[in-house]
Amino acid sequence: MVTPTASWRVETRTRASSLFIVAAIVIVVAGLVAPAFIGRGMLRDLFFILTMLVLAQSWNLLAGYAGLVSVGQQAFVGFGAYTMFACVSLWGINPVSAIILAGFAAAALSVPTGFFVFRLQGAYFAIGTWVIAEVVRLSLAQWKALGGGTGTSLPSGATRDLAIVTWIGEAFGVRSSHAVDILTYWLALVLAVLAIGFIYAFLRTRQGLGLAAIRDNSEAAGALGVDAGRLKWAVYLSTAFVTGLAGALIYVQTARISPDAAFSVIDWTAYVIFIVVIGGIGTIEGPIVGVLVFFVLQNMLADYGSWYLLILGIIGIVVMLFAPRGLWGLFADRTGIQFFPVRRILAGGSSSSKSDAS
């Protein structure tokens, strides 16, 4: 046994990250009071940004950290959304509780699907997840009580008659449909903050370090005692939960569901992958940058029809070729700034090794 020299310590916080904590608190508080100052259009835009951010953060954890490149996350969006619809329309549960239940339902669905897809590696894993999403879509399209293949709408009073919606309406002096938008926006904000907070906290734990080791070299990680199987399961299960919550929340706001929309591979996986890749995979900052870029592009290109998808594709390819670590990666490499540092920097000790982490 080597005798440990005293006075070594590990630092993770950087100056930029300490400043960022303050900025983040300001942004979140501003976000919470924003509905008093902005209109419904902007609320809906922010809702879209926040929910896409949640989906992107979970896909990033799944693919960027655990190496599980899934193209079937729409299975959990759709299953969460349908669970919420069933809870509200068929069983009369209030929509906010139904969102939570939908999260658990999506996590429950991930147990049998994980059992299948974890037998597959790499590209086969990706295809497997897609096939499962299709199976879930086709199965739910058979559910006649929820409109079968054509879909259905939420009962009109389901969200408007909620006590909290009435309270929001009175407090802000707005009509009930506007109050519903405020509520779903708040829920999206809370979900985004919790999802990012959870992922960041997890990455800083011992298990998070193990996950980074698996990402870099799965075989060596196993030889050093990291339980890759268990960690991948934990990530798959928890991202299914978060994705299910986001799916249910999106459809509380939309109030109308159909299998094709709820299980859309373009909306819930292709766009999400675009966001993560553009922003920078394997970082928490990446998806945040990515979702903003995506939103701006979508608005700029809204009038150009199918050119829109073509241009998104070209931008995606260019970024992959010239900035494989995304826009955030490009920025972080130049400046060394990290808002969510997970790097453990060894400091102190006798032979002082300067913190020259890259």
Partner: protein, 240 residues
Amino acid sequence: MQPVLGVERVSKKFGALRVAEDISFEVPAGEALGIIGPNGAGKSTLFNLITGNVSVDAGRISFCGSDITRAKPMRRCAMGIGRTFQIPQPFGKLTVFENLLVAAAFGARETEAAATGRCAAILDETGLAPRANRVAGSLTLLERKRLELARALATDPQLLLLDEIAGGLTEAECGQLVETIKAIHARGVTVIWIEHVLHALNSVVERLLVLDFGKVIGIGEPAEIMSSRAVREIYLGIDV
């Protein structure tokens, strides 16, 4: 006293190729054993069988008296078998220090706080301290080999398996490495070392095991083994 490692009649085939055939040997606690043999003799495969990266077809492997024949690699690591890979396998995006932290946190089941001082000391011992906060992907080959050793040490092993870590080093570097391994061995760690650099190997180990075509063709004191006819013919390619 029971041996640290017991290998009993272990066999393994890759298709038609016998990479391990009826291999048996024991390593008592505190010994340093060298393994030599020509390329393709099954030396690295033997390590993979001991660490569980490859499963045996037949036979039994025990560690400190308990049967580990079917145990997973991570379980064997946690029990106290540390290894280096012949081709270094660093966690490229993690720093050198974090590489060791993974080994200490999972292989030795330590908390990060408890592991910090020990990892720092290992970095010092292996000459990697100036590189502690560099990402491992940016290291030179020599540094990567040192990292392999440092990371294996961070798992706090009872049995340390070294796979050709002296290859490609200069004479001076090799001398340093030998001193490091001697120091580790002197602390009571049992060492099994596969190496082609024979003078380095023979200055550390107490016994040599010779493998050829997956078979043990000799085991004993280095001087005796090196002068045996079979070794000179097969390993050194000398016609006697």
